[in-house]
């Protein structure tokens, strides 16, 4: 036999390494390639507009006309604007009351769903519906429920229960309108709170309750000492998100009252929209939107650090 035949095993895999393949195996290139679409979209349509918004709030831009720098004039005129202050006040009130309502009722619903009830999975699915359906569309249903002449609530109270003489005027005067909007917002927010808290409840080990039971703890003690502390981490995140999105709410108010009657139910977001797009004062609208930022940052920090601390906030790993 000819001994010159190379019978050594090949350790190097026979890959045709073109420059393209090598490029795709280099990590910096891959990272850049993977991050490019996200970074591009977020920088152009999120970071840049955020800065642009700050700039616009310092100009007198109107629709179709490039404005010039006017310093803090927009903010100064807002300072003397009772409509703006009313919107600030109502936004805070709306956020505070609606969030409290959502979390109290949502926690209650979560606790109820955590019992052994028949058709639990089905119930959980049904409960989420108000949150899934487009807000504007369910808001229109609420608008119809709040109709001055044909409100079904008024019908029940006046014609069925005979508790009142006249139909309610839900959206016709400031205070009833404000409360009506809060009720609709709470209705829409309960499912999110309930389902997230339910997920939190299900992670609590039943052995803790067993131990407490053996130690003779009452139902309230179990709730106060086991359920609440162990629910805190998920509660703080849900609270942060809920406060954030309630504060910057737009759809519900725009669909039901559009800020009326007499500008009494304007949120900062709806006022910004009204001034900027139909009113075409882009600069002033941007100033209103920018004034939301300090509140948002404050509310977020308060909820996030005030209510519950999580591992990675204390400098631990991110896992």
């Amino acid at each position: 036999m000819d001994a010159t035949v190379d019978t050594r095993p090949r350790f190097v895999p026979q890959r045709q390494e073109s420059w393209l393949a090598r490029l795709f195996d280099s990590k910096p290139f891959l990272v850049t390639l993977c991050m490019l679409p996200t970074a591009g979209l977020l920088v152009v349509f999120l970071t840049y507009p955020l800065g642009l918004g700050l700039w616009l709030s310092l100009t007198d831009t109107t629709i179709g006309q490039r404005g010039s720098y006017i310093g803090l004039e927009n903010f100064q005129s807002l300072m003397d604007d009772p409509v703006f202050w009313n919107a600030v006040w109502y936004t805070i009130f709306y956020t505070a009351v609606a969030t409290a309502g959502k979390f109290l009722l949502g926690l209650w619903l979560a606790l109820l769903l955590n019992h052994h009830v028949p058709f639990k999975a089905f119930l959980r699915a049904i409960v989420l519906l108000p949150w899934i359906v487009p807000t504007v569309l369910s808001s229109i249903a609420w608008w119809w429920i709040y109709d001055p002449q044909f409100s079904i609530i008024s019908y029940v109270v006046v014609n069925v229960l005979h508790l009142r003489e006249h139909y309610y005027d839900f959206l016709g005067s400031p205070w009833p309108a404000r409360w009506s909007l809060i009720v609709a917002n709470v209705w829409r927010g309960i499912p999110f709170v309930a389902i997230t808290l339910l997920a939190g409840l299900q992670t609590i080990s039943p052995s803790l309750y067993e131990a407490a039971l053996l130690d003779g703890a009452s139902g309230w003690q179990k709730f106060r000492r086991i359920t609440v502390p162990l629910l805190m981490p998920i509660l703080s995140v849900a609270l942060t998100l809920s406060v954030l999105f309630t504060f910057s709410d737009f759809q519900l108010v725009y669909a039901i009252t559009r800020g009326g009657p007499f500008n009494s139910t304007h949120l900062m977001a709806t006022l910004a929209f009204q001034r900027a797009i139909p009113g075409s004062q882009l600069g002033e609208g941007a100033a209103i939107a920018v004034s939301m930022i300090p509140f948002l940052v404050l509310a977020t920090l308060l909820c996030f650090f005030g209510v519950g601390r999580r591992k990675w906030q204390q400098g631990g790993g991110n896992d």
Partner: protein, 306 residues
């Protein structure tokens, strides 16, 4: 689903204590009555309140006008002679089918764009482990906390400069600003759950990183992709303020905007058509939701737990 709960613990305890499981709750007074009062009645009330607006929407949309506005003669909670007139009017006398198609197209395009970008970003952050990946992840999370209501004014001017005003492309490009952060965080969570060893094996076997992503990571992350996809679709279907600000011509509007701006005209509201429009506009998301309930719940709670 295994869902250990408070009651299981108590039941176990009662079994140990020699009680039968038929007597589920307390040792005190009639436990069945107590359970009905503390659990079933509140639960039923919750369900009635949460579902009533949908019932009211549905029943109104099939009522003829003379019934809708006469509570004395007809019980408002029921429909005596149901009619499809409202729905017919909506479908054939307005541009509703067109609005539905537009919304569908925009939502689908925005979803694919966002999920595609998010998969790559999440893979880079979680798996390529480059320097500063954690900070990039945090920045993307912060982006999720920026509400659209403070962005729409500068975005409107930007869209105008790009010449995209009144074009569906404007919406397809701006929806990812809130979809990408959400999807990326969801997918990072999913990628975390895939054992790293699988990829190491593939690397040792000589697979390229792109092959690994395509053949190993992505197939394993399919549930995550579905979650991200349906969530993104729902969020874009529900989006309102951008669509309201960037689109002007009637035929290009999305369903939520069109119902509010085109169907609400004058002082007399056509409640029948409005309710029919709201109901039909909710059907697509409700359908998708009913098929993927578990994905929804897991992604919603997963994103919060993360």
């Amino acid at each position: 689903m295994t869902e250990p709960t408070v009651i299981t613990a108590e039941e176990e305890f009662q079994v140990i204590a020699g009680k039968t499981v038929d007597e589920p709750e307390r040792l005190s007074w009639d436990s069945r009555t107590r359970r009905v009062i503390t659990v079933y009645i509140p639960l039923a009330l919750f369900l009635i309140v949460l579902l009533f607006p949908f019932y009211w929407m549905a029943i109104t949309s099939v009522k003829p006008d003379y019934e809708m506005y006469d509570y004395k003669k007809y019980n408002p909670f029921w429909v005596h002679s149901p009619t499809l007139e409202n729905i017919r009017k909506l479908l054939f006398e307005t541009e509703y089918p067109r609005w539905l198609m537009t919304t569908m197209g925009i939502a689908t395009a925005a979803t694919f764009l966002s999920v595609g970008a998010s998969v790559l970003a999440a893979y880079a952050i979680e798996r390529l482990r480059f320097k500063g990946a954690q900070h990039v992840g945090l920045a993307i999370y912060l982006a999720y906390l920026v509400p659209p209501t403070i962005l729409f004014i500068p975005l409107a001017t930007l869209i105008f400069q790009f010449g995209l005003f009144d074009s569906p492309v404007a919406l397809i490009l701006t929806y990812p600003t809130f979809l990408i952060p959400f999807c990326t965080w969801l997918l990072i969570g999913y990628f975390k759950s895939i054992p790293y060893e699988l990829e190491e094996c593939a690397l040792i076997d000589g697979a390229s990183r792109l092959q690994i992503l395509r053949r190993i990571t992505l197939p394993l992350a399919v549930p995550g992709l579905i979650s991200a996809g349906i969530f993104a679709f729902t969020l874009s279907w529900n989006e309102f303020i951008y669509a309201l600000a960037f689109i002007q011509s009637t035929e290009k509007k999305t369903v939520p905007v069109a119902i509010l701006t085109e169907l609400v005209t004058g002082d007399v509201y056509q409640w029948g058509s409005l309710m029919a429009g709201s109901l039909l506009g909710s059907v697509p998301v409700a359908l998708i939701y009913s098929f993927f309930v578990e994905y929804y719940v897991s992604s919603m709670t997963g994103a919060v737990k993360e």
